[in-house]
Symmetry: C3
Subunit: 185 residues, 3 copies
């Protein structure tokens, strides 16, 4: 039985100087939370933080999410553009043990169908310990496009990482789960 | 008003052993210059150099373009294949502060529709200081395919980097400019 | 004449803990061998080994294939997923002198048309000395999809690397060979 009944832990890290100072309402974090709520049919809980665009602070938040909170899925929003203060991919790169280049490739390809500037997105993803870490864009509409595109792979990856079993709301995203553990009941 | 009236500076760096020794006419540099002339409707000026396929010489040319010349856009042509002397991406990688993986991905995807060998192109792009640096292929026809594909993102990135305002010739390339500064007149 | 009459050397490295202990039949290696046999019409020979999912052992096998065996084409199968023991891309990355990001991009794009989890594949490719090194997936069906997609570029790259001349079975894969040496007869 092992994983059954356990709760999937998700960390949502909003990266934004202005949101971290309270000058700007965080829209990315709530957008991710709402979307995951529609897709995950099984139990899950989210820890949400807002941090400024500082490499060391972002790294600390990612490591805390993975190691102290034991989050199986860690997503960031914001700080992936080409502007001087955008450093989320650099911070993420430094904490990853394995990189998953296909996530960034797919997110950019999907966004490119909507805006010709999507190649400016520098999102990366990968594994640290038992956590899948994914950079998402900052804008809620782009978050939805990107997150929905990668979710089928996220679910399979969580199965591979031996995370608590995830059930998916019928019709929300396509699934392909060769590594899903059998239910014991 | 700030940037208005200022001139966009472009550096075009041809990387080729033979062209640098005068044994071969540089076709890549002029092809880039001609194409940008069709797309940019506002003032711009180009500094053009030809360097051999040597990592240190290419790095010096890139750093000079970014730091001494203050070029907002720096493009290279040549040296991005898999042959032993092709080292432009390695040299570029060493001077970038931020990488923009989407540029190489899109250029290869576009070229792949034309030749099945396009995946041998190792072009990268990214940011150093206030400069957007992009590797382009060596062949004029491939330059046109690749440069036209990335130009909409180039223009938005120049806006983000606070480069002088760029006006685009109507009908030349699609534009999407959420970060364009308002004209003061 | 130089390369004519010489034999193309291929190394096929199966990366699998279980196959290396004999607990599991290697299916990836034979699948690659069979596919290359259908595509290559000229003389070629393959050296096949099975190694466990250990970075140092994989690195040794890659270096041996490139430097001691003088293999022009080195392909691995297995160990490219996100699981803890999957380290083939990390080992490969450490021995490459030049990376060819387009190979992984194309293989993931091709596989993504078949399974939505293809972005979990972390395959890379590149050059070491006179060898083209490519990570392939572990599953025979995925090997076929990925290898067929990249073979036209493989053949052009072997021409560029000055490998023995390769003749391609008519109708097997499309070819585009601007760097093919002229036959002397």
């Amino acid at each position: 039985m092992t994983k059954l009944g356990k709760t999937l832990k998700v960390s949502i890290i909003t990266v934004s100087d202005r949101a971290s100072r309270g000058e700007y309402e965080d829209k990315g974090g709530p957008a991710i939370r709402e979307l995951l709520g529609k897709v995950f049919a099984s139990k899950w809980e989210a820890d949400c933080v807002i941090v400024p665009d500082e490499v060391d602070v972002i790294k600390d938040a990612l490591i805390n999410a993975s190691e102290n909170l034991g989050s199986h899925l860690v997503v960031t929003t914001g700080g992936t553009g080409p502007a001087r203060r955008d450093v989320t991919p650099e911070a993420t790169s430094e904490v990853l043990e394995k990189t998953l280049p296909g996530f960034g490739e797919l997110m950019r390809a999907v966004s490119l169908k909507i805006v010709p500037t999507a190649i400016l997105s520098r999102q990366i993803a990968g594994i640290r310990g038992g956590s899948l870490i994914i950079n998402l864009p900052g804008k809620p509409s782009a978050i939805e496009d990107c997150l929905l595109a990668v979710l089928p792979a996220v679910v399979d990856c969580l199965d591979l990482l031996d995370a608590p079993n995830v059930e998916i709301t019928k019709g929300s995203v396509p699934t392909y789960r060769p590594h899903k553990k059998k239910q014991s009941n």
